[in-house]
Amino acid sequence: MKRENTFGGGLLAQVAFVALSTGVYGAVLAAWRSPRMAAYVAVKLPTVFVGTTFTVSVFCWMSGLAAGAELRYREVLGAVFAAMSVAGAILLALSPVVLFFILSGAPDAGGRDALRFTHACLMLVHIAVLGGAGVAGNIALVRSLRQRVPSRCRLSLMLVLWLLAFALVGCQFGWMMRPIVGSPNIVVEFLRADALDSNFLESLFGQIIPHFINKGAIR
């Protein structure tokens, strides 16, 4: 009973905090494109984070049992959302800084190439911030799991499976929720008309990788 209180307790508060922090960062992330886009992404980014977690949670719980972790479903959710709260806290802490850079440094007018360059720079900043927050969250997850699981648990295998599941589902959720950063040359909309027409794996192996291979062959 004590174990559940410390590890799976306050789950609702954790989910709310993750939704709030990712919502704030989502609004900041798309603020450069337009206020409407910021409002859209303030809803979409929490959906990606929370939706991904609930989608993979059953797999995480079962793979944890198979790896010998002996965690209850609620404890798995608690551990994951606690780690996401760490990432959320970092996103929330950096939101004013990123917003300051967007408002003071990112040109919102100019030629097509200039806007594309700004868009690319902002993408890099957001990848660095989200990536850094993700790494911190994962470190917190590993530390907390190490203290909870029995010594015979194959923790590395379990974490690899969890990360793969999160990466796969998270990328697909993000793909469906496009646009998120908001390309300057594409109209602002909540979801693209072709959101459900393909998945990110089809795009990755059907378009992106062949594009780089063909470019390499021409050279």
């Binding site: 760490v86 806290a89 970092i90 929330l92 802490a93 950096l94 004013p96 800084v97 300051f100 850079f101 003071s104 440094g105 990112a106 040109p107 919102d108 007018a109 100019g110 720079c121 850094g132 911190a136």
Partner: protein, 217 residues
Amino acid sequence: MNAINTRTSVAELLRNPDTCLGHACEDARTGGLTAFLLLLSLAGSAAFGFAIGSFAGWGVAFLDAAKMAGIMLFSFALCYPTLYVFSALGGCKLSPKRLLSLGLVPMAVLGCLLAALSPIMWLFSVSTESVGFIMFFSCALAAVAVYFAQRPLLCAKERGLVISLVGMRVWFFVLIVVALQSVTLVRPMLSPLGAERTPQGKCFFLEHFKSALLEMR
């Protein structure tokens, strides 16, 4: 440090920043210390701003002094939530009020060193007409001050205030980047009030610094 004597306190801050950190985190009353650290930080940056602005005359010198103090204050205020969260992630259990004092220790060291470097900056400011050189030279001197300013943060771990310094180091890096962007925001720093901003419109600090450095050729 409780009964603040400016000369001895500044010396103590530079010689033993960990003692100052201890006062900030353990003393019952920290209001006076906080105000003292903030004042040092603002006064030092204002002096450095004055020295930079001397390049374009007295008017710009006073204007840049105000700008630099404002930049320091604004950057710290904007990054304070980051400090709170990142230090908490590093195991810090200080209250927001005590953390304010802790965060101001490196800022005060930065201010002291900027003030100490101001005469050198002033000497070069009044003896050149190259904007690029002044930009380069002021960045080089500021880098020296920044190097010494981040050192008190190391003492936070030695005193057991944090378990990991990663968060503090990231905060300090973010603070410096925000300060550089703030310099870009209030440009021009080396031209009279009302002069044309180059580059025009919004831009990131790297673009601004690059355009200024290109004038050195």
